[in-house]
Symmetry: C2
Subunit: 306 residues, 2 copies
């Protein structure tokens, strides 16, 4: 039995950097194949789509998708189209979130945001292009006896749609500068973060023709990893220096952003983060030893700078 009772080999024995490097390379190569060349006419749009897609993202969602496929007995190779589709959705949402009419960010990962390079019109269209491309890519992954292309497209469309990912961004926009309740904050986190993480691992499972019980376990895993990640992010913003974070610390306080520490205090936030993290790891129990990579990815995400 592992130290945390999850029944999964602890991540220390697993080389997560090596795993992430491998999966990132595979995902980047596949994305490069799926996307039109940068010079394809009209060149502006394809160069703009590629600019953000290859701007150094960590490819965590694709890695989770591939790891989920493996946990259910599938192969990483077969799950690549699903992993790439999820990354296109993630990138489109960042491009649109960064726009002046939304979060108005000039930089992301140290590089100028899409609209700073290509202008707002092209940035909006580059986001639209990647969102549309995600559906073109996802149906190029194989359907299985349990999961048809219909089910797969519904999974992606619902996670990315106006009840999930888009709903999260709307609630976030509308909540700016307002005192939010813990419930309202969770509503945002569930949709802005958990929805697509959940979809990433579920699609991975579907690609491996997973059992309904495995699909449920993956849903729980994605849900709790997403929530835990957000609470920990809020905590780190107030407890770490900018140097430790690698980005401006105390940003949430300055922006008068509702966070777990500002609503329930630092101590209770830590308790909540611990509970959510435990639930995330426990949801991997049904996979026994097969979820090593998923477990390691969750540790990588949730055990930052503790």
């Amino acid at each position: 039995m592992s130290p945390d009772g999850s029944g999964v080999r602890p991540a220390e024995e697993f080389d997560i950097s090596e795993y992430l490097k491998h999966s990132t390379d595979a995902v980047n190569a596949a994305l490069d194949r799926f996307l039109p060349r940068a010079k394809t006419r009209p060149a502006t749009i394809h160069s703009a789509m590629r600019y953000s897609l290859f701007a150094g993202g960590k490819r965590l969602r694709p890695a989770l998708c591939l790891a989920a496929a493996e946990a259910c007995g599938g192969s990483r190779e077969a799950a690549l189209p699903f992993a790439c589709a999820v990354e296109c959705i993630h990138t489109y949402s960042l491009i649109h979130d960064d726009l002046p009419a939304m979060d108005n960010d000039d930089f992301r990962r140290g590089k100028p945001t899409n609209h700073k390079v290509y202008g707002e019109g092209i940035a909006i269209l580059a986001g639209d292009g990647l969102l549309t491309q995600a559906f073109e890519i996802v149906v190029q992954g194989k359907a299985t006896s349990r999961y048809s292309h219909q089910t797969i497209v519904l999974e992606l469309a619902r996670a990315a749609g106006s009840l999930q990912l888009i709903a999260g961004q709307v609630a976030d926009l509308e909540g700016e500068g307002k005192p939010l309740s813990q419930r309202e904050l969770r509503f945002i986190h569930e949709r802005k973060t958990s929805a697509l993480l959940c979809c990433s691992v579920r699609l991975g499972g579907m690609n491996a023709n997973c059992t309904p019980a495995q699909l449920n376990a993956l849903s729980d895993f994605g849900y709790y990893v997403g929530l835990a990640f957000q609470v920990i992010d809020d905590i780190l913003d107030v407890t770490q220096t900018s140097e430790q974070l690698g980005k401006t610390a105390g940003k949430d306080v300055t922006a008068q952003k509702a966070t777990y520490p500002s609503i329930v205090g630092l101590e209770k936030s830590r308790k909540i983060a611990k509970q959510l993290t435990d639930k995330a790891f426990r949801s991997l129990q049904p996979f026994k030893g097969k979820a090593v990579a998923l477990d390691a990815l969750a540790r990588y995400l949730l055990e930052r700078n503790k």
Copy 2:
């Protein structure tokens, strides 16, 4: 034989207003069923999506989709999800095209545009929501022995994607105020107009499990109707008064927009319009008497104010 040699009963015998009214009612009812309620949380986004979707659009693309299904021996009822998906794509593209960063239009069909009512951030997200919804809806239409859900999703994603619909908007944006060649202008029309018209009728045909020959005929029909429509639109802009048009005449000249009359002159434009229109009607020949509604819809679109 019909007077124009198309082998199709002339549209005069067909009550196009009645047909359009019926199909519009059916499409509106189906869209209302497919879309989340306006009050569904977050209410802003769903109310914004519905605002533009129910802003009085003529539902020409859905009507063409349903008529194509009928021409291939299918039913209008079964083709409704495909018709609704195409209309969601069309509406999203209008919302995004109207944004200040693109065409900067304050009014559409006499009503304030989405961003004038809901602000730019929500308008961008409402467009994203409708684009995503289109894929959720399209897979709710039935697959057939010849056309799987994979084929159907690819059809929609490619027509709406960065090589077609989005490419057209990019080329249009980039061509503003520049002298364009006839070839460049056709590049824009093919993508901004023909791509989605083509997709509308092709999806209708697929819903009726049409033969490959029928699918080709529908592709030609959608392609030529789209091009002819645009050339005629350009001609009317210089030959008609604002009163006759029901919108500001001479807008293209004022905006220094490249048009067929400005590139090849009015006389040659009329000749081109005639050729394209003839090709559109001729492409319906394989359907014999079954394409009455398609023929009438094309006449409705192409025989305006002659």
